[in-house]
């Protein structure tokens, strides 16, 4: 256990050091969620006036939840990019040789992904508050929202880690990114589920992310909804992707 | 009939300075006669490629003049480019095109079309041994194949003068030798003037009719390889004692005959003999007098590296890595 933690600490220190001292990593992570938030709220706020748009907290809060979850998922994907980069540069081999317990490597990347996302989440939250976002949920609701996002971040990290461990090249980026992008956007991004029509309604209804989105919006509006389902899905994703990531690590070890 | 100047290269006081950088080329005078293979030898960062870029009109000189094929490189750039072919330091090929498609592109750029284009492409592909691989994408080519294609592309328009910038760097011995044979044939059979830059002593020795040795942007020596080596006229004696503990004794004895030098085998002692001092028999007698038993004794004739050492105080091989690399091409082209 001690070995695992010391490896995790070393790995996460390195990732975070690189992240915070390199503008080319830090800025896109921060700017993209802010940009989406601004663009969606700015362009589409009038859509909350469509009959049946039942979200009294306001469109800013409605989009904030999506952007928070999106940033959580993509922070995980960006971590996967970093792992792929480490494979290509040979640095991962160094880590594998040095680490007494290699699960610590996975833990290190996961911890650093979380720390990265918390930074981004803090900035996005501050900007949303400056933009006069309403919050109708109480403290417990907000904790629930951020914990949900945290779980999604972990799931995203484990997904991307598993891909990176298997493919071990930066050209795997689209493989990591596209499914996450699709899952995010085949959800009620712009309007509540009830206002979706046609095929997108069908897809969004079975999309696991929809439950997380609806639950998150429930938290921020003080009307918790689908809470149990959302957390169950999040935990399920984490368990599934943990297995995916660990098996990926074993494959990477076998490849040498 | 071509006049002699049409196949020659001349440079007077050629200088290339980069913005906020050192002088990559610092006053070069040279002349390459028609049909000659001129070897431009120097370590990394010496200014070889920058010189080639100026002579091929890719970079204007900061000062000085140069004529290639009888045309001024500054005033008559397009005419120079019509007369020359160049295979530069990077093979510069498109990995998604086939060998044949590269030739199609190159012939089109030179205004060669139709049947003549096909004929010329086939001829060159055959000549460089790439006919079988002609329709394969270049990303599947080996390093040697890429260099051969590079040479073929440089010859598409039958240039009178050929510039080769480190053409065999990174190639295996077989590919290198094959390229040497082709370059030699071009000069001998077709009268093509070849300006070849290299950091390989052997390449300059084997191929070049005359060699110019460049260091820090200046030519420090010029002449035929034999003439340059004869100027030094100093052999090097290398001795390896049977007992490594006697290395000091061997060094003391040999230093009577010349200055110690480096760059030979581990455990050996090497001295560069002075012109007036020492022949092998005297050296053996002196070592014998000290009771030293040798496992190996060799005499090395002077090399171009010895010439470089004599002129600059450094060995050629590894000289480029010792220095801070000088930019031969800045990322942001300087304005002239």
């Amino acid at each position: 256990m001690k070995d695992t933690i010391s490896v995790a600490r070393a790995v996460s220190w390195r990732v975070l050091h690189t992240f915070f001292t390199n503008k080319s990593f830090l800025l896109p992570s921060v700017l993209f969620p802010l940009f989406f938030f601004t663009a969606f709220v700015g362009a589409l706020s009038r859509i909350s006036q469509v009959p049946g748009f039942d979200f009294p907290t306001g469109y800013t809060a409605f989009q904030f939840v999506f952007v928070l979850l999106q940033s959580a998922a993509f922070s995980g994907v960006f971590t996967g990019f970093g792992i792929a980069r480490d494979f290509e540069s040979g640095f991962m081999r160094r880590l594998m040789l040095a680490a007494p317990n290699r699960s610590g490597i996975l833990l290190g990347y996961a911890v650093s992904s979380l720390a990265r996302w918390l930074t981004v989440a803090a900035i996005v939250t501050v900007v949303a508050l400056i933009a006069r976002m309403n919050i109708d949920g109480n403290g417990v609701d907000l904790v629930g929202l951020y914990v949900l996002a945290l779980l999604l971040n972990l799931a995203g990290t484990l997904w991307a880690t598993g891909v990176a461990m298997r493919l071990r090249t930066q050209q795997a980026a689209p493989v990591m990114q596209m499914p996450v992008f699709l899952i995010l956007f085949f959800a009620p991004v712009y309007v509540p589920l009830d206002l979706l029509k046609g095929w997108i309604h069908g897809v969004a209804s079975v999309n696991p992310l929809t439950a997380l989105l609806e639950a998150g919006r429930g938290f921020i509006s003080g009307r918790p909804d689908l809470t149990l389902a959302a957390f169950a899905i999040a935990v399920g994703l984490i368990l599934g992707f943990t297995l995916w990531a660990i098996r990926g690590l074993r494959r990477a070890e076998a490849a040498g | 009939m071509d006049s002699p100047r049409q196949n020659s290269i001349e440079a007077h006081g050629l200088v290339r300075e980069f913005k906020k950088g050192p002088r990559a080329v610092d006053g070069i005078d040279l002349r390459v006669d028609p049909g000659e293979i001129y070897g431009f030898l120097g370590p990394n960062g010496a200014g070889k490629s920058t010189t080639v870029h100026m002579l091929t009109t890719l970079l204007p000189p900061t000062a000085g003049t140069a004529t290639v094929a009888g045309y001024d490189v500054v005033e008559d750039g397009p005419k120079v480019r019509k007369a020359i072919g160049a295979a530069l330091q990077e093979a510069a090929l498109d990995p998604f095109l086939t060998g044949r498609e590269h030739l199609r592109l190159q012939t089109s750029m030179h205004g060669i079309t139709g049947d003549e284009r096909r004929r010329r492409s086939d001829e060159l592909l055959t000549r460089v041994g790439l006919m079988e691989a002609a329709d394969r994408k270049v990303k599947g080519y080996s390093g040697g194949m890429k260099r051969r294609l590079d040479l073929a592309l440089a010859l598409v328009h039958r240039p009178r003068i050929l510039f080769l910038d480190e053409p065999t760097t990174g190639l295996d011995v077989q590919s290198r030798t094959a390229l040497w044979v082709e370059v030699g044939r071009l000069a001998k059979d077709e009268g093509v003037t070849v300006f070849l830059t290299t950091q390989y002593l052997e390449e300059a020795d084997v191929l070049a009719d005359r060699v110019g040795i460049i260091d820090h942007g200046r030519i420090v020596a010029e002449g035929t390889p034999e003439h340059l080596k004869a100027e030094i006229a100093c052999s090097t004696v290398e001795a390896v004692p049977a007992n490594p503990d006697e290395r000091g004794t061997v060094a003391t004895v040999l230093e009577r005959f010349g200055a110690q030098t480096t760059g030979y085998g581990p455990g050996s002692v090497a001295v560069q003999l002075t012109a007036s001092n020492g022949n092998l028999a005297e050296i053996v007698r002196a070592l014998d007098a000290e009771g030293v038993v040798l496992s190996q004794l060799q005499i090395h004739e002077p090399t171009l590296d010895d010439v470089f050492l004599a002129k600059t105080g450094r060995h050629l091989e590894g000289a480029g890595e010792e220095e801070v690399a000088e930019p031969e091409q800045p990322a942001e082209p300087a304005r002239v």
């Binding site: 896109p28 589409l44 706020s45 991004v189 979706l196 029509k197 | 890719l58 093979a91």
Partner: protein
């Protein structure tokens, strides 16, 4: 333009097309991604058509304009990354050593990109029609749409070529993607300008030239012949093309220091 220039432009353009065609990711992504986004947005924002004053009852028809701009962007970024790679690998030097004139190099590059963008545009049009979108401007409008698309692609291509020539860096050209992306999102791509509620966003969308490109294409799809929208769109596309081309030509002149 001399007699040799046209075949040279054709050969260079052909190379740009071949290079793209032989990299499946560069073919598939610009075709599929805009369509995917269109499908998502058309489904997700369908309810926006219920807003008073929304110009059409089909969000698909409303949003079909976006892939034309987005696809042009993706194709030109990809191709200009390859152009930057030509500079990095020395391939541009190889071309510079031939008698080909500098502007011919640029025309060849741009010509290739235009071809790619037009193929994409035809694809988007066919998909839109297959999913029930009706072009209010008819066949003439479709033809004009392709002309407009060519100009839009030329504008982005020229700006991308400028970046490639100026920096000689594939990363710098790739870095343009988020910049263009920002311009695309801060436009009237998802909502008519007059229905944008947020004042600052409406102002940004109004000064954003990409809005006029989208609105011109959109007008051909959902309105028919809106000469004001078309005039503005063409003016912006031509203006961007001229500025982009001038920048690219200047950068080429600097890059090719050849005498």
């Amino acid at each position: 333009m001399t007699a040799t220039a046209l075949p040279q432009i054709a050969t260079l353009g052909r190379r740009a097309v071949i290079r793209t065609a032989r990299q499946p990711a560069n073919v598939v992504f610009p075709l599929i991604f805009p369509m995917l986004l269109l499908a998502v947005n058309a489904g997700g924002l369908h309810s926006a058509t219920k807003l008073p004053g929304f110009p059409t009852s089909s969000f698909l028809a409303f949003a079909l304009a976006v892939p034309f701009v987005q696809g042009a962007l993706l194709a030109t970024i990809n191709a200009n990354v390859e152009f930057a790679r030509d500079i990095q690998t020395g391939f541009l030097n190889r071309l510079a050593l031939t008698p080909v004139r500098s502007l011919v190099l640029l025309f060849g590059q741009l010509g290739g990109l235009l071809t790619i963008a037009l193929v994409q545009a035809v694809f988007y049009l066919v998909v839109g029609l297959a999913f029930g979108v009706r072009l209010e401007s008819g066949i003439g409008g479709a033809a004009l749409l392709l002309v407009l698309e060519a100009l839009i692609a030329l504008a982005f291509a020229a700006i991308g070529s400028w970046a490639a020539l100026r920096t000689g860096s594939t990363e710098a050209v790739q870095g343009l993607f988020p910049v263009f992306f920002v311009f695309l999102f801060l436009s009237s791509m998802n909502m008519p300008r007059n229905l944008i509620q947020t004042d600052w966003f409406r102002w940004v969308a109004t000064v954003n030239p990409v809005s006029y490109l989208i609105e011109a294409v959109r007008s051909l799809v959902i309105e028919g012949w809106n000469w004001e929208a078309l005039g503005l769109g063409f003016a912006v596309a031509i203006g961007m093309s001229v500025i982009g081309f001038a920048l690219a030509a200047h950068a080429l002149w600097n890059r090719l220091e050849r005498t």
